[in-house]
Each structure stands twice: as C-alpha cells, then as structure tokens.
Symmetry: C2
Subunit: 614 residues, 2 copies
C-alpha cells in the first residue's frame, strides 16, 4: 500500500472538463479517483478557447493578463455556485486542477485568482543508481531501478509523478538507462506534464570532432523515441566547451543542458589544509565568472545555494548574484544530507525561502528568485512505505515544489497546507503539528555546527557529529579551532578573499567583523572565543547556549509530539516517535561533543554551570 | 608468475631421503625443484628409525635429548663432508629439510644442532571472505576464494603452504566453505604438515541440547572427510559454555577450539566517552579472569597482544600473565591494520619479540613465550603478485613464523635470513637493506600516535591520521587531549583501574607516573604538556620532536633505498619505490596533523622553531 502523502484527504464536487488532449485525460482520470463532496457548487475546468461554454467566461477573460497566461498559468474564478478553472492548454489546466484540489474545501465567497509560476523550470534531480541504491538517499532503495534495470511495475512511479505535478514540478532528472526503459519512464511522467532529462558524465574531449558526432547521433536516436526529452544533466566532468557541445546536440529538439557546477573539476579534492588562503568556497565563482557569456543559450548552470553545498547555514553563493549573461538555476537538497538525513526532523522551507528571497545586490531588490531560470532540487524519496523515511520529511518535498512555483510563499502556511492535505485531523492538532515542525530547521542549526561554520559532521556518512572530521581533509571544510578562537578568515584583507566575490554593500557587510551577521560570523571570520556577538554573548558562550538550547528544543518537540501522537494512525505514530528517539540521541551527541570539544580547547566553563563533560 | 618470496635463491647439494610417508614425498618433490649445488658434501634426510643407514648415526643418536625430539623437532649433524638431518617422522624431517635449505650455504665446519619449536601451535588466521575479499587485507583479493567458492587452481595455495611450512607454521584458520572445498584446501595444506581449522560464528544458545546435537552431527560429517582437521576458530559470539560445547564436539577427533577473546561480546561497541572510568582496555581481563579454569582442555583462548589490539605501541595484555588454568595463545597481526597497511614499511619483528619476551611477572622470568600454547597471527597475504602488496612486507610473514618457532630469535638476524633467501644480492646491499628495514617499526611509531596513546587513525580505514577520529566514539579509543594535557588515566587511584590488572611489581610500575616507562606514559596517565619524560624533554616537545624525527627517518629510508634500488629487478624496484612515495606522503600528513593538533591546543611553539602549521 503506497502512502498517499498529500493527496490523501481531498474531496471535490462534480467537475466538468472542457478540454481535450492527453493532460485533460489525466485530469479526468484524477477526478475518477477523487472522493466526492456533496455541494451545490458547479466546477468547470476549461481551456480559454472553450471558456464560453462556461457561465463565467466574461470574468475569466477579464482576468487573463495582457501578456497572457503562458503555458503553465491558470485562472480560477468563482461567483456564487459557479467556479471555473481556465488555462491556455493542458499544463495550465493540470496545475489549475491541483490548485482546486488543494484549496477547494478552504474556499469561500467570490474570488478571482491568477497563478503563474515564478520559475520556468522546476526540476527534481534523482541521485539514484541503476543498481537500485540511492546516493545520499535515506528512504530505502530506488523507486525507479532495481538490479540495473527499470522496475517492471511503474505504479509507484506514477504515484510519484502525480505528487510532483500537484506541487508544480515540471521536470525530473534520472540516471541514464536503456532506451526502452527511458521511454517507459518518460511515458509515465508525460502523463503529468513532467519532462524527463537524463544525467550523464561527460569526460570526453569536446575538441574531438568524433565526440560531437557521437553525441549527435546518439541523441537523435533518443529523441526519436522520446521526442519531449527535457535534455541532459551533466553530473560530472565537462567544461564550457563540453557543455556547449552537448547544448548544440540537443538544441534541434528544444532540449536543455543542465550543468552541475559542483560536478565540475575544480570542485574536487586537493586543497591543502596547511594553506589558510586555500578556500573551496571560492571555487564556483573563480571558475565560472570567467566563462559568463560563453555558453549556448540552452545551457543552464546549476548552482548550489551556498559555497559549502547544502549546509543548514551558509551565505548565499555569490555566483547567484554575479552571473550576468548565463542562464542558471538554483540547486537545493531536499534529501537531508547535512540536515538530519530524515532521521532528525528538519523542515527546510524557511531556509529555502530565505535563500530565494536573498537580495543579491544587498539593497537594489534583485533576489535569487528574480534571477534564476530553474530550481533543481535533489529528491528525498525512496521505496520506504512513506516515501521519505521520516513521514514528516514529506513536507520538504512539498515545500520545495510550492516554493519553486511561488518563492514568496510563506513556509508556515505551506506546512499548514501540507498537513491538512496529508492528515485527517482537527485544526488544533494541525496547529500543534505545524508548531512542532516550523522551527525544526533552527533547532537543527542550534545543536550542530555553530555560527555558519558548517560541517563538523562524521566524514562519509555526514550524519552525527565529528567536530574535527574534515578539519585536516583535502575537502577544505575547516573551522581552524584552536585554544584561542575559531572560524575561517575569508576576508579580503587577511583571509581567503572570498568576501570580495560579493558586490557592495554585501562585500563590506561580510568583510567587517563588526557588521557581519552573527549567524554567519564563523563562516567569514576567525575570532577569539571572547568575541562578543551582536546578541551580546561571547562566541564561546553562544556555542554552549545554542547546544544546550538545541537539545532542549528537541526534547520539547518530542514531548509535544507525544501529546498529539495518539491522534495519528499507528504506522505514522510509530514512525515519528521512533525518529524523535533517534533525533534525541543524535542531538545529545552533538550537544556534548561540540561543547566538550570547545571546552577542552578553551578551558572556559559554561557561565550557567551546566554539565560539560571534560 | 608467482613471486617465490623467500624460497627463490637457495641451492642444495645432492640429498638422499631415508624415510617414507606423505611428508617424505613432499621433501622429495621439493628436492626436485630445488637448484643444485656442486659440492662434495653428502646430505641424508632420515628418520631416527633408519638413522643407522647414515654414516653419522652415532652422532645423531647422541644428540637426541633424553625426552626425545618430539613430533616436530629435528637434529642436524655435520662431520666433514657428511651431513645428516634426522627426526622422528615426517613433520620433523620437513622442518629439518627447510632448515637445511635456509642455512646450507652459510654452514661451515662440523656442528650439531637440535631444534624444537618453543610453541606447539603456530597458526595463521585468514580474514578472507568466501566472496573473495579480505577483511583488513592490503594485498589484493583472497588467494583461496572467489565469488563464494574456493578457487579452481590451487597452485597458488600450494605455493603459500610451502612458504608457511618453510618458516615453521603448522596450522591455518580459514573461513568455512562447502565440505568438498574444505577437503581440497586441507589436502594441499596437508602436503606441508599444516592443519586447517575452520572459522565459525557461534551465536546459538549453548544450553539448548539441539544445538549440541547439531554441532556433533555436523562435525562428524566434516571429520569423516577431513580427519585431521585442526578444529574450529570461533570468530565471534560464544561464551564459556559455547566454547566448551564446541570443544566437546571436536574432542573425539583430537580437535581444538580457538576462541577469539576480541570476538567475545563485551568487546563490542557501547562505551560512553563521557565516562572517563569506562575503559575498553579492561574488557578482556574483566571478562576472562572469572572464567579461568572453566574451559575444556582443548579450548584455547586467543588473546590479542595488547589491550588496544594491534597498536604499534601498547602494554602487553595483563591476561597473558594472569590466566592460570586455561590454555591460551598470543594473537598478533601480520596484516598491518594499524601499522601502515603494507603501504608504509614497518617491520614488526622487533615489536613481536619484545612482546614474546615480556616478563609477565615483572622480574620472576615468566615470559609471554613461556606461557603460551599457541601463536595465532592474522596473515598479510593476498593475490597481489608479490603476496603482500609491499614486497618488503613479506619479511613480517617470515618473522612471525620464525619467532613462533623460536621466540628468542634476533629480529635483525631474521631480516638477514629473509633478505638473503629472497634476493640474489651482495652482502653489502643486504646489509644496507636490513638497515633500512630494521628500524622501520620505531620510525612508524615516531610519526604516528605518541607515547603509547594509540589510535589517532582515520576511522574505518585505519590508515592515515585523524587525531580525533575515535575521540568521541563508543569504541573507547580516546586520548582526552585538552588545552592543558593529554593521555588516559588508567591508574587505580584516579583512573579506570586498569593498572590493577597487573601483578606487582608491574602494577606499581605503571601506576606511578614517575616510574611508568616513557613509551607507555600516555597509555597509563593523563599528564600536562610540560610534564618531563625520563628522557628530559617535555611531553609536548617530545611529540613535536618525534614527529619531525619520524618524517626525517622516512626521508632517509627512501633516500637510502634509492641508492640500492638499481640492484633489484625492475618489478621489485618500482614496487618499493612507489611505496616509499606513499609512505612519505603519509608520514608528512601524520607529522603535520599531529603537530598542528597539539599546537592548536597548547599554543606552545616548537622549541627549535621548525614549521608547525597553525
């Protein structure tokens, strides 16, 4: 029995569909499996071309913006007992249909809504292997592959495609498989308006003409079978020439090349910890700014949200503000590699919204969301019965889709939406659940690496603390803690110069230790333990405080959960209860190891006399 | 082409064999493939029963000790051009034959030698998996197994059996396989007087009678096919009852049960680093002393040489002195898990001899070698062309066999023996090679964990430095370094009480910080960085000094090697040159990470102003 996730509780009235085509068929099929709702409201889902078949055609036509709705936009109009969802074609109707499904029971009174996605490409990347394992996956095996082949029964893949379409996802990247297998997967996703791209490694010499010919010929064969293939995602290797070669190879078919910045060569190992100026955080900017403007139009650079890649706190990557003549996307991790691996509860919606709304100019209102052409998020699903290992981790998948569509959406409201759609429960329980979840990202931040310094995780697994785990590694994820202080000097004046990759006034904001935001202080500066934060406490006491606080917050979350747990069905209750147990153990290790580590270094006890082990 | 290791250079004169039986056949087969030596010396290999067929029968009979030669002992007598090797039967003759092979070209003048092994069971344990991988193996895949089965071609296994017999090994433990496969392997080892034991996990309930019946029935089938099976090696699980159950099951066939102390349950994870009294070093003694005297006669406890298991410096396990009514063996690691993994040169002969000669009474002359009934050493071979990855690591396999036979042997002399038998080279080159190798254990100790504190290795791999790698782990391998000092307080007075597991005067020797030997100081005591060693330097300066020194010694070893490298065949030259490159890189990381770690903690610079990175 597949967990229905956030498509489990909704009900709709009778709906008539005034449209044809494959996606209209999908809507009809969806309607057949949706629970009914006895009401006088008459709903029509209708293309604009046929809107005059509905009673509200004038209101709909008046609502369509001057520049049109676009392929994916839609209008919802309600007047009394009439409600019309209208769009130019199937894609818009499908999103309009899921909008209706999501909100119908909350709607009242007359209204007119126009929705269009803020970001054109909203993609989920899948680090599945055809062997069936999922790299950095914490929810079981692949839902797509087993033993080198695509699974026979695609029921689960179809359920997944529905879930994705319902939150506005329009693209997925999957590992490359045999052509008939690719065609089968693409067929399922196509039903839900989702384009499949294929992930490839590109290590050939792009200056060799035979390479270009090979790719052209190969892609011709692929597009013959899957004419709407989204394109290629370059996982590793390649340079600008390589990306352009692939771009030209897919251009005749309208395909796109997604090039992972973090799969590029200079991001690999090889930094010397002895050299305090060597800084992996610089790599993306240093490598790609010189290439700005040298890419084919259909090449999209895929830029991780921060220079340390997916920490729970780090600055926004300067590349996201500084690329001027290149199309680029924002890469996020829904899979919780560095944020609790779906054992610890960590709702990342607030973090992603902060990134999307970050003003890359430091004042001129050009946010990350304004600048990107794509959101590409690494999926967190596997074949665990509840998709995501931790049932509540479904909320991250939900939020990333909704935020990619609407980067201004309020993360707490999204939690309410998600919870109401996922669980049949009273408003008070939902309110309590949302309260438990909404602060979990900050809680996770508190008990792990302090003040933006990042990592301190167990090498390889990236779960649980190992304060010195990467300290002497060639990955360059250091904190430089010694008996006097801690942090990475990334200033232009005395450090690695990373702050100089930002435009003013951001460069100065981060460069100056007195203006640098507390939460990023140790990312940008090496400071003595008695350095005072804007908050008034010293860095050392802040470390102690947040670690005691973080653990206490997990205890409170678990305690509050126990109060409402009985209201959930047993399988959900046990899953979440077990995860809180694991999280408590993890938070305790983090608290104690981090506190002891800094106590051993500094010799300074906790001002409040709480227990720090020697 | 299989590397002939130390059976490559020898020559013999004509030899006549006056004996019958399978092992005499083996000697004849060996003789057929040995290079000949033109000389007037007449050699006879002869059982005592037939010694009167030889000219020196009177000298031989006079040489036989009153209590006899035993099954494995032998006599070698030379008078003028007559030389006789005599023994009671095949085993003694085989060892006598290999003695002859080893020394013939070095022999001159008349002499009489009587040799008997000091330790009755001299076994190599193999951590191979039937899948073909070797746990903690650094020399390629298994020579025994591939893809779940014993390899078809046993040529390599036969070569290995020869090598083992030539150094006095008389037992091997192998993973359990299908019965016909076990029989094939046992057949090959049998040709060389080596008994095969099978490694098993025992997790059943020994109080369940059905379990005893199952084992009896199963072993009856095994012994029907392999009547000379050595017995069982219990890798994991079991308690005294379980060991005794297995002991009774193999007793009718003369079998032995080897029970790995470190595979017993209390040795597993689960220590809390927060509790400074929790001490994994205590586990073996605490668990097994209460069981002393409760074992069947044919159960042999297999005790690792030290409480931290296979570090390059640690005290001798107190269990080795304190078990009174139990047969026990000494477990050593030839595979270099914690000593450079056959990338770094680390000749362990001196370390093993120190352990074997350790006086467990602290003055009454009862050495480890006197007390043990077995030496069980984890093999370092794999299917690498040269058996051991690093060609020079063959010397460790050689030394462990020779020391198990004669624990008083001089490790440097063993190196000379090994080098002369392995390489065709002039005496000066051999002298230089032996000099490079003989101090390599101390060199390795210098650049790794200081003063007996152990570990500081990368978790999981156990190669390369990670000073804090196990600091907060449940494995209990800590150093407790803080800004003021370092080391583990294992005293009775203020620490874990481990020193109390030794008898006097050892207990007081280790308990008192002023008498504790420098090289074990941090194993037994937590001391401030400015604590003065008997050597006169402070602990901190000692750490710096030894790490600079250790690296410099590797540089010198590599430089000296380059001088003689040309005298070796290319494949050997390249192998060793490459390994020195790797060792230099490793030693540099160790030097710099350890020095920086302690500099960051202490804030005290090197007294000689050498570079320590911040």
């Amino acid at each position: 029995m597949i967990d229905s996730a956030w498509l489990g509780t909704q009900r709709l009235p009778e709906v008539t569909v005034h449209a044809s085509g494959a996606l209209a068929q999908t809507i009809r099929a969806e309607l057949r499996q949706t629970r009914r709702f006895r009401t006088d409201v008459q709903v029509a889902v209708c293309t604009l071309a046929r809107v005059r078949e509905t009673p509200l055609w004038q209101e709909v036509e008046a609502a369509v913006p001057e520049h049109g709705l676009g392929v994916e936009g839609f209008v919802v109009v309600r007047r009394g007992n009439d409600l019309v969802v209208a769009a130019e074609g199937g894609h818009g109707l499908l999103y309009g249909y899921f909008y209706l499904l999501r909100y119908f029971e909350w709607m009242s009174g007359d209204f007119t809504v126009v929705e269009q996605p803020a970001v054109p490409i909203r993609m989920l990347d899948h680090w599945d292997e055809v062997s069936g394992t999922v790299r950095r996956g914490y929810s079981g095996a692949s839902i797509f592959f087993r033993d080198g082949q695509v699974v026979e029964d695609l029921t689960r893949v179809r359920s997944y495609a529905r879930l994705l379409a319902s939150i506005g996802i329009n693209a997925v990247a999957l590992p490359t498989a045999e052509l008939p297998d690719v065609a089968r997967l693409a067929g399922v996703f196509r039903e839900y308006g989702i384009a499949v791209s294929l992930a490839v490694d590109f290590t050939d010499d792009p200056r060799d003409e035979r390479v270009a010919r090979w790719w052209s010929a190969t892609l011709a064969r692929v597009y013959e079978v899957v004419p709407d293939l989204g394109g290629l995602l370059v996982r590793a290797g390649a340079d600008a020439e390589g990306a352009n070669l692939l771009g030209r190879a897919v251009a005749p078919y309208g395909g796109t090349v997604f090039w992972r910045v973090s799969g590029a060569e200079q991001w690999l190992d090889g930094l010397d910890w002895r050299d305090r100026r060597a800084d992996r955080a610089r790599a993306a900017y240093d490598q790609f700014i010189p290439l700005d403007g040298r890419f084919e139009e259909n090449v999209v650079l895929q830029v991780p949200h921060g220079p340390s890649e997916f920490q729970v706190r780090e600055p926004v990557a300067p590349l996201l503000g500084e690329l001027q003549e290149t199309v680029f996307g924002l890469e996020l991790q829904v899979t919780q590699e560095f944020s609790g691996q779906q054992r610890d509860l960590c709702y990342l919606g607030p973090w992603w919204r902060e990134i999307l709304q970050f003003d890359t100019t430091g004042g001129a209102r050009s946010t990350v969301a304004d600048r990107i052409g794509a959101v590409v998020a690494v999926s967190n699903v596997g074949d665990d019965p509840n998709w995501t290992g931790h049932k509540l981790a479904q909320s991250n998948l939900y939020a990333v889709g909704r935020l990619a569509w609407d980067p201004a959406a309020d993360p707490v409201s999204l939690l309410h939406e998600w919870a109401a759609a996922t669980f049949a429960m009273d408003d008070r329980t939902r309110g309590e659940l949302v309260t438990i979840m909404s602060g979990s990202w900050r809680t996770y931040e508190q008990y792990t690496a302090p003040l933006g310094v990042g990592y301190m995780v167990a090498p390889e697994t990236h779960y649980g603390p190992s304060v010195n785990g990467y300290e002497y590694s060639t990955r360059g994820s250091h904190h430089f803690a010694d008996r006097d202080g801690v942090g990475v000097d990334r200033t232009v004046k005395t450090g690695s110069g990373f702050t100089g990759q930002y435009p003013e006034p951001l460069a100065s904001l981060y460069e100056d230790v007195s203006s640098c935001p507390d939460e990023l202080l140790l990312f940008f500066h090496h400071v003595p333990y008695d350095h005072r934060l804007h908050s008034g406490t010293t860095v050392l006491q802040h470390i102690y405080d947040t670690h005691f606080q973080g653990y206490a917050e997990v205890e409170a979350m678990a305690a509050r959960w126990r109060v409402i747990a009985e209201r959930f069905e047993p399988v959900v209750r046990e899953n979440i209860t077990d995860r809180f147990e694991a999280q408590l153990a993890n938070a305790r290790e983090w608290r104690d190891q981090v506190n002891t580590f800094f106590y051993r270094l500094s010799g300074v006890p906790d001002a409040q006399g709480r227990t720090i082990h020697r």
